[in-house]
């Protein structure tokens, strides 16, 4: 427990009585640490909001950040750190926004002569430490979700599904195929089948450096799913080494058509679709 109920009340009173002085000093310290990347007015606003929520929590008898009275305070802290994370500030810069309150408080309390002062300061300090840690956690979480979003976007960009002909779509896979990527590819391919009404799909793995059991499984699942929907998949771009690996691993592609090149696969599908291709002879001037 960081604070006793009385200390909680004293903190609230101290903050209330010295509101302006505290928020001023606090804002000053934070502004200095962020070196002008956020306006003073904005920081002052954040300081006041944080100040307000600490007072509220204190008046409600908060003994530590994690208890139920701390809900609003935690929300304000989370908001603050998420903002910092999105704006590209470092973890330290974010934490300083909270720890600066300690310095401001210390300056204030040094002037007081009460016997409880030292113990109170230690208690307030413990609470601010909890707040700092919490802020750090929130910061990390926001950064992680930003990274996850970017990874997803990258995934989207690198898995195009193209329509090659009436009733034929193709997915040229490039790079390593991990579980996450395989999922995305499968879903997008299947959706493309529905959107274009194509009964044929060519999965080209020319650009896939290595095929292991996992990758083969993913491809197989995609083919089975497409069949369930009423479409047929052809796998193309199987290089000699990959063919050897597949046989060595004992992977059975069963009755799934496989072709060495995308061109072969397209020719195959066109034939299945009843399309005839012909070379046009140039007209001669007689």
């Amino acid at each position: 427990m960081a604070l006793s109920a009385e200390q909680s009340g004293r903190l609230a009173r101290l903050l209330t009585e010295q509101a302006d002085r505290l928020t001023e000093r606090w804002t000053e310290l934070v502004t200095a640490s962020l070196r002008g990347r956020l306006s003073r007015a904005e920081l002052a606003g954040q300081a006041r909001e944080l100040h307000r929520s600490i007072i509220d929590a204190g008046e409600n008898g908060l003994t530590e950040l994690a208890d139920e009275h701390g809900g609003e305070l935690r929300a304000v802290l989370a908001e603050l750190s998420a903002g910092r994370a999105r704006q590209g500030f470092s973890a330290t810069e974010t934490a300083i926004s909270v720890y600066a309150l300690k310095d401001a408080l210390l300056e204030l309390m040094e002037e007081s002569q009460g016997t409880e002062t030292l113990r109170d300061f230690v208690a307030f300090s413990a609470l601010i430490d909890q707040m700092g840690l919490f802020t750090f956690e929130s910061y990390v979480r926001t950064r992680e979700s930003l990274i996850a979003d970017q990874a997803e976007q990258l995934l989207e960009l690198s898995t195009p599904v193209v329509k090659l002909w009436e009733g034929v779509v193709a997915v040229p896979l490039v790079g390593t195929l991990d579980s996450a990527r395989a999922q995305v590819v499968m879903e997008r391919l299947l959706q493309a089948l529905v959107d274009t009404g194509s009964p044929y799909a060519i999965i080209d793995i020319t650009g896939v450096p290595a095929v292991d059991t996992q990758v083969a499984q993913h491809i197989l699942k995609t083919v089975v799913a497409a069949r369930l929907m009423g479409a047929e998949c052809i796998i193309s771009g199987i290089r000699p080494q990959i063919a050897q690996t597949i046989v060595a691993l004992g992977i059975e592609f069963g009755d799934i058509a496989t072709k060495a090149s995308l061109a072969d696969a397209l020719r195959h599908v066109l034939r299945l679709s009843g399309v005839e291709t012909a070379v046009r002879r140039p007209r001669r001037e007689s």
């Binding site: 299947l190 529905v194 009964p199 497409a226 369930l228 009423g230």
Partner: protein
């Protein structure tokens, strides 16, 4: 209990499942379809599951059963409109739905049925031709 409507379009029965069926409703559909196939003497059944957001083992079994029953009654069944998420789930669930023909939509389903009928007739014709050439 709701009943899934069955439409007759020419020589084909069309069922479009629009509701989240209870097991009883599914069983009723199975019965109704068998009855209608016999009553109309149709040769094709198209079951449109575009509106189904899940297909579990019960519905899967029902579809398989309908396919088997209709085959016995000389009709082709095609299931159309399966959603990608449903297909992916069925693969994970390990439900193979073997014995069921599928197509992307009603139009392709009809083509499939027509092609299946044509194949049958070709086979029958082929036997006749063989006889004719033999005697000539």
């Amino acid at each position: 209990m709701e009943r899934v409507p069955i439409l007759k379009i020419g020589d084909i029965l069309l069922v479009s499942i629009q509701v989240d069926m209870s097991d009883q409703t599914a069983m009723q559909l199975q019965e109704d379809l068998a009855e209608r196939i016999v009553a109309t003497g149709c040769h094709g059944v198209i079951i449109d599951i575009t509106a189904l957001d899940i297909v579990d083992s019960f519905v899967g079994r029902m579809l398989s059963t309908i396919a088997s029953i209709s085959k016995v009654l000389d009709a082709e069944t095609v299931v159309v409109g399966m959603r990608p998420a449903v297909a992916i789930t069925l693969v994970e669930l390990g439900l193979s739905l073997s014995g069921i023909r599928t197509a992307l939509n009603v139009e392709r389903g009809m083509e499939l049925i027509a092609a299946a009928r044509a194949d049958e007739w070709d086979e029958a014709d082929g036997d006749e031709d063989a006889e004719t050439t033999a005697t000539a």
